[in-house]
Structure formats: C-alpha cells, structure tokens
Amino acid sequence: GKSESKSEPASASPSASASTANSGSGNKKLVIGFAQIGAESGWRDAETKSIKDTFGNDPAFELKFSDAQQKQENQIKAIRSFITQKVDAIGLAPVVETGWESVLKEAKDAGIPVFLLDRGISKGNEDLYVSFIGSDFIKEGQNAAQWMIDNLGDAPTNIVQLEGTVGASAANDRKKGFEDAIKDKANFKIVYSQTGDFTRAKGKEVMEAYLKKDKNIQVVYAHNDDMAMGAIQAIEEAGLKPGTDIKIISIDGIKDAFQAIKDGKSNVTVECNPLLGPQLKQAILDYKAGKTLDKWIKSNEDVFFGQKAIDALPNRSY
C-alpha cells in the first residue's frame, strides 16, 4: 500500500500540469480520456492493450484510461470526470447504443471531441461525436453466412446458433445479419438457437444438450470464438469430428480460433478487429490538424478460413 501511494503523486503531477494548460498549444501533451467497457473478454483486453500501447508509447500523448466494469453508468461517470479534468479528446467504446445524449452533449458543450470505438450509438445523434471507428456486427453476421452459402451450397443444412449474451448489441446484430442472409435460402435451417453468454463453458453446455437431442446437425454458428471453442469440445466428447462432421463458423478471430482451424477442428472465423488504437490515434491527429473525417472509419477486417487462416496464425497477437 505505502509504496503505491507514494508513487501516485509523482505520476499525477505531470498529468495535472498537462490538464491545466492543455488548450491549443501544440507542444503540450494531448490528454486523451478513454472510457472502456471493461475486461469481459480476451477480445476486449486486446483492444485495451492496443489503445494503451498506442498512446502510452507516444510521448505526445497522455492517456486517462477508465474501466467501467461493464456498466454504462460507470462509463457516463468516467466521461463526466474527463470533462471536469478538461481532456483534449474522449474515446468511448459504448457498452450499449442508447443513453448517451446527455453526457455527450455535455462533452460537446465543453468543446471536447468524442470518438466512438467498435460500437456505435443510436441514430440521430451523429452530431454528438466526430467519428465512429469499428466494424459492423451485422456485416460480420452476413460474412459468416456468406461463407456457409459459398461452401456448403445447396445441401440441406441444419444449423445450431450459439448466441451471445441476451441483449448485447453484438449478439443482436450478429444474429440479425446471419439470419437475414439465409432468409431466402431454403436449405439452411436454424434448428436451435440458444444463448451461450459468449463463454466457452456455456457454449459447451448448450452444445452438449443439443447433441443428445439431435443427431442431424451440420453447422454450428457461434457469435464469438470462445463459444465455438466450447462447442468444439462438446462435439469431440460426443465422438464426432468438429470441422468435418459439424462445420464450425464463428466471429472475432482470436488466436485459438486460428489454431483450431489449423487443427482442422474449426472452419472459419470472421475477424472483428480489436486493435483499434492506431486508427483512433490517427483520427485524433487528423481532427486536431483540422481535417474532415469520415463519420464511420471502418476497421481493417477479414474473413479467415483454410490456408489463409493457417498462414495468418503466427502473426496473431491476441
């Protein structure tokens, strides 16, 4: 306890000087406040790490990072606190689309630009932020479906969908994108759809139950890789071959998914890139330089399967 509290004033003093005299002068550090959702998954941690590395390693910036423990109220509190600390820009990964009007308006009134990361906010509030940097969950769902349509053709296909946490926007959109894309393909049928809470454990448990019930399953579509990893275990324990007997499609692109594709246990992972730090930094610099920015800066993403996935594996950092 002691050593900690001793070191704190030391680290706090430069930030204090920065935040008091930050306005405009180019030589001063730019103070960025980032309101992260939490650390609910490895994906999220990779995003956090990317942001910390990007700004932490750049002497021109100072990062104020806040972890909201998955709670919107905490994110709002964090933004309020950033406003009172007079930061130069705010980054926000909104935990949910709605409910940001008041606080973002306060930020706007205070003249602080806001950048959204990896998730958007509800329509009609475009004037409250500068840009949204991130991917399109609906598109990810569509991409997942597209791979299936491309590779499985017209064969009658029964699908198990492992949904994310009920109510989470990633779950809602990945479901919507996927279901819309196969709506008019009669051979694709989602036979079971259940939440796996984005976790391996639940993914496995749910899949176990379905395997007992039904022998006629061709595809597992999981809203994230973790649930797919769980499902793969369940399929193996049922004496079937994941990736062959039952095809595995998932989203996110974590390292384990690539490994699974390499091992032949999974088929495809749709990337959802968490490494948004550099793009955020660029956007802030551009904004400070007075450039006009796209409202939606898409993240660099891809769909990985087969050899492509195997080739990419060594470079995966999360």
């Binding site: 609910e40 490895g42 941690d45 259940q194 454990a201 496995k204 275990q233 384990d256």
Partner: protein, 336 residues
C-alpha cells in the same frame, strides 16, 4: 391407513423430501415432454446422455454449494466463490506450463485456502459483515485472476490435468467422483466430528455457544476456509473441463446458484441447521433445470422468466403454509 398418513407426515417433516420432490417433478415433466431426455447409451466405453451431463455439469456448483452450506449455517454468506473459482483455475493453468501437476494442484488449492482464510478473517476477526466482506474478494478476485491470465483465456492441452475434468472412471465422468469425495469428506466432518454440532450451535446462537466453550470465531474461520477450498476444487474441475481458464467469465453469478441450491436443499439462510444432502439435491435440481431448458429449446429471452417461476414454485412447495392452503381438508383430519 392411519399409520400410513402418520409416516407420510413424518417423512414430510424431513427437509430433504421437498427438494427431492421438486427434482422428481422436473424429471417427470421431462419424461412426458421428451422421453429421449433419459436415454443413456454407451459410447467409447463410457456412459453418454443427458443425465450424465447433468451430473457432470453440476459438479462445480455442487462442490461450491457444499461449502456455501457451511457458511450459511453460521449465518454467513460467501459471494466471492465465483471469483475464487476463477483465481484457482487461472492459477492452475498459469502454473501448468512450468510445474508438475501436483504442485499445480497444491498451488490452486492453496490459493483457495488463502482466499477462504482472508474471508474468514474479515468476518470473524475484524467483524465486517459477511456479504460485504466477501464482496471485497468478489471484486478483487476477478482482478487477481485477470492479473494472472493477463486478461487472456488460458488454454491447456495437458492430458493429466484434463483428466480431472474430462476423464472417465468406471464409465462415468471423473469429476462426479471428485464431487462425491468432497461431499463425503464434509459429511464425515459433520457427522463424525463435533464440527457439525459446533457449526450449528454457532449458527443458531453465537453468544450461547461461546458461553458453552465453543469458539465461534474459530468455527466461522473454518467454515469460510472450507468454502474457499471448495471453490478452488471447483475451479480446478471447471478449468479442466473446459480446458481453459477464463478469468472474466468463469464462475460468474455462480454464487447466486450456489445460494439457491443451499436454500432449495432446506438449509435456512438464518443459520443453524444445515442439510448437506439437501444441498446436493438442490444443486442437481438447478443443473437439471438448466439442461432441461436447453433441451426443450426454450428461447434465450425466456430463460430467466422460466427460472424465476420455477424457483418460486419450488419454494412455495417447501412452505408448510402454502401446502396447508392447497390441502385445507387434510388439516382437519390431522388434528383431532
């Protein structure tokens, strides 16, 4: 006839009856709606089926609920069990890379022991109220687990370690035997030593038990420590079953299920008498409900609703007053 109803009434007074009835009712429902639910076949020399899954997946919950029973018996509560599970799982997988299995297991169990001691100390020595004392570890514990895993999901392919969670023994999942062993140990502690008596006395009336020469603080400490160790065992089983340690999600909200299992099992949250057997049945009931929900294909949005209604029904069945209301005519015949 008279003696039959008399013995039925005597039976009804046993706390274990109602959780068993609830479990049977749930199974009956399954039997009617989906007979295939009960099919058990032999695959690769082991039993395979929903019932086996229920037993298997209920293991971590059962083990933790057994610990929780002890804490609740001394009028306490431990809401940090989920976090402790996460820490011990993370610890195990983190060490597995570099250390032999027995050290890994000892370290994981030791972590749980320390966590339990910490909770026990806060509650019995410093005197912080149990829910908040364990809330501290609930918060800190996740942080520590994430610190160990560096925020990533750790994986393992260690065969020996995987055996704990995935292995088969006598055709059954090995974890079932772990749960059974934990139950047996705690049961022995309860009924072959005076621990059970002291625990119930301290839970029933701390002052009076202190006056009788029992040391309630020591008993409290022990109860929390055992719970910590139970959570650690559950953490090992859990991480081994899923071959991964997920610091963020492992054991999330498990404390609520554990408390539910204890209460469904007939132990009162007000401390005192506790029923280990009831707790096990309660845990099995909760897992059966989950598996049933999956097997029935209930929509994800409705799961909570179903769970809420079932829990209330089960508790109502356990309430003498409610049963009395349902069977008013029976009362009259009982009394004269």
């Amino acid at each position: 006839m008279g003696s039959l109803t008399a013995s039925a009434r005597k039976l009804a007074r046993h706390k274990i009856v109602w959780p068993v009835v609830a479990l049977l009712a749930l199974m009956l429902l399954n039997l009617i709606v989906m007979p295939e639910f009960f099919s058990v076949e032999v695959r690769d020399g082991r039993l395979y089926g929903n019932l086996i899954d229920i037993l298997k997946n209920a293991t971590p919950l059962t083990i933790i609920a057994i610990g929780m029973t002890l804490v609740i018996a001394v009028e306490g509560i431990d809401i940090s069990v989920g976090s402790v599970l996460a820490i011990s799982g993370a610890m195990a997988l983190f060490m597995l890379k570099d250390y032999p299995l027995w050290i890994v297991l000892l370290a994981a169990l030791g972590t749980g022991l320390l966590c339990g001691l910490w909770n026990g100390m806060l509650v019995s020595v410093i005197g912080i109220q149990p829910m908040v004392a364990t809330l501290i570890l609930l918060t800190v514990g996740r942080g520590i687990a994430q610190l160990i895993t560096n925020g990533q999901v750790l994986n393992t392919s260690d065969k020996a370690y995987s055996f704990i969670g995935k292995g088969q023994f006598l055709g059954l999942p090995f974890q079932i035997f772990i749960a059974a062993a934990v139950f047996l140990l705690v049961w022995l502690l309860k009924s072959k030593t005076a621990f059970g008596l002291f625990l119930e006395a301290a839970g029933g009336n701390k002052t009076a038990s202190a006056y009788a020469g029992v040391r309630p603080r020591f008993i409290l400490m022990t109860a929390y420590t055992i719970t910590g160790v139970c959570a650690a065992i559950a953490g090992i089983v859990y991480s081994s079953n899923y071959a991964s340690a997920d610091a963020n999600n492992a054991g999330l909200w498990l404390e609520l299920d554990a408390i539910l299992a204890v209460v469904i099992g007939g132990t009162s949250m007000r401390g005192g008498r506790f029923y280990l057997g009831g707790t096990v049945v309660g845990a099995l009931f909760i897992q059966s409900l989950t598996t049933t929900i999956y097997a029935m294909g209930i929509a994800p949005e409705s799961i909570l609703l179903v769970k809420a209604i079932v829990v209330i029904l089960v508790c109502l069945i356990q309430s003498d007053i409610f049963r009395g209301m349902l069977l008013p005519q029976r009362r009259k015949t009982v009394n004269p």
